[in-house]
């Protein structure tokens, strides 16, 4: 950056010499802030496909719990059971039987 600015995504300052992405009329943002954040699929571990999700308008990616389900996995048979199996595998503590 030649001049200091404020990131339009996180509202933090961007200092001189830091890398920022600038567009005329839009403003500037940090390099890391410009990367599109996506939730992960709890079943296949891939991206949950937030950009094409039917709930895109009502889902606040920054605020929700980080694991979701991608469209493909949600359309499989018994996605709820697959989700439970996958989570138990990922977080073995959830299986603890004291």
């Amino acid at each position: 950056m030649k001049f200091p600015g404020t990131c339009i995504i996180c509202d933090e300052k961007i200092k001189v010499n830091e890398i920022g992405l600038w567009a005329k009329g839009l403003g500037v943002k940090h390099e890391k802030c410009s990367q599109i954040k996506e939730l992960r699929c709890a079943i296949c571990n891939g991206s949950a496909g937030c950009q094409s999700c039917e709930f895109r308008d009502i889902c606040d990616i920054e605020k929700v719990s980080p694991l979701c389900i991608c469209k493909k996995c949600s359309e499989e048979k018994n996605p709820y059971d697959s989700y439970q199996k996958s989570i138990k595998k990922k977080l073995p503590l959830l299986n603890v039987k004291p």
């Binding site: 939730l39 709890a42 949950a48 999700c53 039917e54 709930f55 009502i58 889902c59 606040d60 605020k63 929700v64 719990s65 980080p66 694991l67 979701c68 389900i69 469209k71 949600s74 996605p79 709820y80 989700y83 439970q84 989570i87 138990k88 990922k90 977080l91 503590l93 959830l94 299986n95 603890v96 039987k97 004291p98």
Partner: protein, 385 residues
């Protein structure tokens, strides 16, 4: 209620907040005397209370559940918790769960927060607190002595998978559009999503655009008494998202002004009276959890009864009309007479009017007044004994 029927039986049956759930289990497995209590923070309806009850069950603790109204005063806290925190207990392995702990701040706190913090500093049994927010000053002091685990709203698509699983178990269906709207309306709150889905599936009408709107009082009361089944009436009742007191008052004024036989009236009023007592109890104790029983009390009013229509006022229409129109005429008459007698309008109507009417009735007095007052004088004379 589906939300009770399908309440998860194990921690692993829940959805969302996977890391947080795992962290809670880790805390329980490693718990020993002196371990910092847990504070679960997150919006309502995402499973904080459920997980507290499930972990207690899973780890063999006897859960003692309290809420903000129980921990408002120091004496009340000591009264409830002293026997539990002592060395000898007949409760087995107790665990304390304080729900809605953020509700104790403000005017209602009579030393409760300080007493609670003292207990939290030296825990001898597992203590779990739950709060919707951690921003108040009282929460700042609580946060210093606890381990915080945050709960976030559940992603909508995950909620959809959860809801579809419940609908499958209930062999019920919602149209894809309705499903999306139910999830949208519930804003990450699983309990509210399930309740809304149940009210749509079991009761309130076809799933139309209007099903998702709030019903106003008038339409709500009229639809309630016109409903073809108790489930439909329940759906209407839940869709009337108004202040509880307003809801009770609306039923009361509609019933009291309807042309009902005394037996039906007595039955209806008895139910409304129970709802009013419940509301009074909620206000007195600030135990808002009891609110869930209000609709279940009011649903007892349901009976397909065309005689009951919504009325805003507690008086019947003939009486209201008389007060409104005749009252205006009497006021105007009093104003004219008051000028003649050098009195105030209110003194004339309160003191002199009955005597004037009596004199007119006995033909001892004749007043030269406009013809428009003829009717009202006749009506009032009929009431003079």
């Amino acid at each position: 209620m589906w939300s009770e029927k399908h309440r998860p039986q194990n921690i692993s049956d829940m959805v969302g907040n996977e890391e947080s759930r795992s962290a809670i289990i880790e805390w329980f497995t490693k718990w020993k005397k002196g371990t910092k209590p847990l504070l679960l923070i997150g919006p309502p309806g995402i499973g904080k209370t459920t997980i507290a009850y499930l972990t207690a069950k899973q780890f063999g603790y006897d859960l003692i559940g309290l809420n903000a109204s129980d921990v408002r005063s120091k004496s009340r806290i000591n009264e409830i918790l002293s026997p539990v925190l002592g060395n000898i207990t007949i409760l087995g392995s107790p665990m304390i769960f304080v729900d809605e702990v953020d509700g104790i701040h403000g005017r209602g706190d009579y030393g409760g927060a300080e007493a609670l913090i003292q207990i939290l500093k030296e825990p001898t049994i597992p203590i779990v607190l739950a709060a919707n927010s951690d921003t108040s000053d009282k929460m700042k002091s609580i946060k210093k002595v606890v381990k915080i685990i945050s709960f976030k709203p559940i992603p909508p698509r995950l909620m959809r998978v959860y809801l579809e699983n419940i609908l499958k178990k209930e062999t019920a269906k919602l149209s894809p559009g309705a499903l999306i709207k139910v999830i949208d309306k519930s804003k990450g709150d699983i309990r509210s999503m399930i309740n809304l889905a149940q009210s749509l599936v079991t009761g309130f009408n076809p799933q139309t655009e209007k099903s998702f709107e709030r019903i106003n009082i008038e339409d709500g009361i009229n639809a309630f008494f016109k409903a073809n089944s108790i489930d439909e009436a329940r759906g209407v009742l839940y869709a009337m998202q108004i202040e509880p007191k307003q809801k009770i008052d609306a039923f009361y004024s509609s019933i009291i002004t309807s042309n009902l036989d005394s037996n039906s009236l007595a039955k209806y009023l008895e139910i409304i009276s129970r709802a009013d007592v419940l509301y009074g109890k909620i206000m007195k104790t600030q135990n808002w959890r009891l609110l869930r029983y209000l609709n279940e009390t009011l649903i007892e009013l349901y009976q397909k009864d065309d005689r009951i229509r919504y009325t805003r006022y507690n008086l019947s229409w003939p009486l209201l009309n008389r007060i409104r129109w005749d009252g205006r005429k009497i006021k105007s008459l009093s104003s004219i007479m008051a000028k003649k007698l050098h009195l105030s309008t209110s003194s004339f109507s309160a003191i002199c009017l009955p005597y004037v009417l009596f004199c007119i009735k006995n033909k001892k007095l004749e007043l030269e007044l406009e013809e428009t007052f003829g009717d009202i004088i006749e009506k009032e004379i009929e009431l003079v004994k």
